[in-house]
Amino acid sequence: MTDIQQTVYVVEDDEAVRDSLELLLKSDGKPVKTYENATGFLKDYSEKMAGCIVLDIRMPGMDGMELQKKLNEKHSILPIIFVTGHGDVPMAVDAMKEGAVDFIQKPYREEALLEKIEAALEQDLEQRKTLDEKQEIIRRVKSLTPREHEIMDRMIAGQANKVIAIELEISQRTVEIHRSRVMHKMGTHSLAHLVRMVLSVKDLIDAR
């Protein structure tokens, strides 16, 4: 796993706010990329983007909430910090429900914003790490033969070797060999760990 370059993406229609935010973040040593509107960002977006989004809610054309929905459709995991000029509780609730990590109201103390950005970047890093781990698990699961996969499912379901052998009409010895191959391929020695790993990617596997 290589170190990824995290960028703060600022989507803000007001030129002064955008410019000042860019200066502030740059002076804090963060790579920044700014967008004047949601459409521009959406055009640029790719899964490889890492970091977080600072997103203004009220914008002409596509507003912040709409952009969030579009990104969710694309399974983006970029954390979003919503910024709004006036406290709009229902809007904030909606945004959080849709998975926004935070919500900040203008005018804000820049420490507060920087803290939130820091936390979002941390979360992004975490998410990416977990995602990488999960993808590794999936890769390993995929390396199993159909028979091995079948045996693994029964192991996870808690079936004893004997039971598996009888149900599959193979010898108990054969079950044992498959079992040790599964454990080896999945890179674990403990059944409990194997169960945890497979369950953690269950949603991803089901989704495919």
Binding site: A16, S20, L24, R58, P60, T84, H86, K106, E110
Partner: protein, 529 residues
């Protein structure tokens, strides 16, 4: 013959002679001519009959015992009841002296005896006719005079006839009533002395003086006149010269007490002021409502520069904490802070100006500047709108005279309505705001949208209070707009564009146009254009 009969039927002829033979002949001569004939054989009896019946013609014998014809004639003429009758003397005396005496006593004619029947008939006929016409004329005159008196008596305005020195020659009953003094006591007094307390101070400048002395008509309102008892009252008068063949004979003054009128006017003025005050209050309340609706937009709009300022300030602090700060960059950042703080204060300035109560009185305003300010103001409200506002005003547009806050309120209201209509229709065509000169004294501002338009029946009711086509509207906006614009001397209206949407316009008088109001007719001209 019929005509003669009907003509004669009203005529009474009295025959007076002491000689029965003469009487009989006279009677026979006139009896079938349609006259009512009365007969007397002596003076007393003749006078009695004449007094009771007022005959038109009296054939009177001169030579009679006891009372002769001359005396009868004299007494007839002395009695007003009989003074107008035509006395025709009959006498055998044929000398000139007798005739002259007869005429000098008021006789109308003289017939010598022995008389010719035809002559008597002809003369009686002529005199009867003359007297009848005279009596008709007099009756007519009396009638006319009566009419005149009745008119003068029934006029509620006081009327004085003055001679050239201002002495009252005539006064009608109304004048007496106003002055609380009988007509008889008014007549003969000097108008100026009687009714103007300041008479002694500057006699030349007294009312009616120029009419009396120079023959120039005058009229004045709310001037103080004094009654005989010394009390005064506010009056209005008109005086016209009394001319006779271009010669000045004083003046006729028509005047009235306007105390009640002035009181009514004062009450009306007070009511008008109250209405004005309430309209201003309503306008103010309506502005506050508008501000309330726009508050979220303003909060956002003010927070933008504040956010930028906070960010820039933090950046500046960081720069300063470095060992070798880049002063150039620092200066640039501080400039940006300054610019953003101007932006914030400009928004607040607009809000404050819009909310304040208008100073009564008009100002000379530049329409393009006012509309541009309003546009920026309205855009606060429409950050989520696609379309926006397009403003086009010719450079040559003259300034108008109006209250800038109230005009802005109207413009803002129309623009916000247009934006709302555009939004409701999910359209993205901008709201068009234009201004143009109409005629030479009127500027017309139009606000045109491509929104949902208005219901067919809305047109008549649009500007009525509490009429609204919006679910949450109160129906106060346009009614307030109309009263505000009308108070500026302008007009407000609605046009239905052929290709949909709605178009509202209002007019304002050009500042240099001598206060000529932009009344509805100029608006209807505009509609034709």
């Amino acid at each position: 013959m019929t005509e003669v009969v009907s003509e004669n039927s009203e005529v009474t002829v009295l025959l007076v002679d002491d000689n029965p033979q003469n009487l009989k002949v006279l009677y026979e001569t006139l009896k079938d001519k349609g006259y009512r004939l009365l007969i007397a054989n002596e003076g007393e009896k003749a006078l009695d009959l004449a007094h009771r019946h007022q005959p038109e013609v009296i054939l009177l014998d001169i030579m009679m015992p006891e009372m002769d014809g001359y005396e009868v004639c004299e007494r007839l003429k002395a009695d007003p009841e009989t003074a107008d009758c035509a006395v025709v003397f009959l006498s055998a005396l044929d000398d000139l002296q007798a005739k002259v005496k007869g005429f000098s006593l008021g006789g109308a004619d003289y017939i010598s005896k022995p008389f010719q029947s035809l002559e008597v008939i002809a003369r009686v006929k002529t005199h009867a006719r003359v007297i009848r016409l005279e009596r008709e004329l007099q009756a007519r005159n009396r009638e006319l005079q009566g009419d005149q008196t009745r008119i003068l008596n029934s006029i509620s305005e006081g009327i004085y006839g003055l001679d050239e020195n201002g002495v009252i020659e005539f006064a009608n009953p109304a004048a007496a009533e106003i002055m609380r003094c009988p007509v008889e006591e008014l007549i003969g007094r000097n108008f100026f002395e009687a009714h103007f307390a300041t008479c002694g101070e500057c006699p030349d400048k007294l009312p009616v003086q120029t009419t009396c002395c120079q023959g120039m008509a005058e009229s004045q309102r709310n001037i103080r006149m004094v009654r005989m008892d010394g009390s005064g009252f506010p009056a209005e008068y008109r005086s016209t010269p009394k001319l006779d063949n271009d010669e000045l004979h004083g003046a006729v003054v028509v005047f009235r007490d306007i105390t009640a009128e002035l009181e009514n006017e004062a009450a009306l003025e007070e009511a008008r002021e109250l209405v004005q005050e309430q309209r201003d209050q309503l306008a103010h309340a309506s502005r506050l409502t508008t501000m309330g609706e726009m508050a979220a937009g303003f909060a956002h709009e003010v927070n933008q520069p504040l956010t930028a300022i906070t960010n820039y300030a933090r950046v500046s602090k960081r720069m300063m904490s470095k060992e070798n700060p880049d002063l150039g960059l620092l200066g640039e950042t501080l400039d940006k802070i300054e610019a953003q703080s101007h932006r914030a204060s400009e928004i607040i300035r607009r809000i404050r100006r819009f909310m304040k109560k208008p100073a009564t009185g008009k100002e000379v305003i530049s329409v393009p500047a006012l509309l541009e300010d309003t546009r920026q103001f309205a855009e606060v409200d429409m950050r989520n709108n696609e379309g926006g506002i397009e403003l086009s005003v010719p450079d040559s547009l003259p300034d108008v005279a109006a209250d800038p806050i109230q005009v802005q309120q109207v413009a803002l209201n129309l623009i916000r309505n247009a934006l709302e209509a555009t939004r409701s229709a999910d359209a993205s065509t901008p709201v068009e705001v234009t201004a143009e000169l109409v005629g030479s004294s009127c500027v017309r501002v139009r606000v045109r949208d491509h929104g949902i338009g208005l219901p067919v029946d809305a047109e008549d009711k649009l500007f009525l209070p509490f009429y609204t086509t919006k679910d949450e509207g109160m129906g106060i906006g346009l009614a307030t707009c109309r009263s505000l614009i009308q108070a500026q001397g302008g007009d407000i209206g609605f046009e239905r564009p052929e290709d949909g949407g709605a178009c509202f316009y209002f007019t304002l008088p050009v500042a240099s146009a001598d206060g000529a109001p932009c009344a509805p007719e100029s608006a209807s001209n505009a509609r034709e254009a």
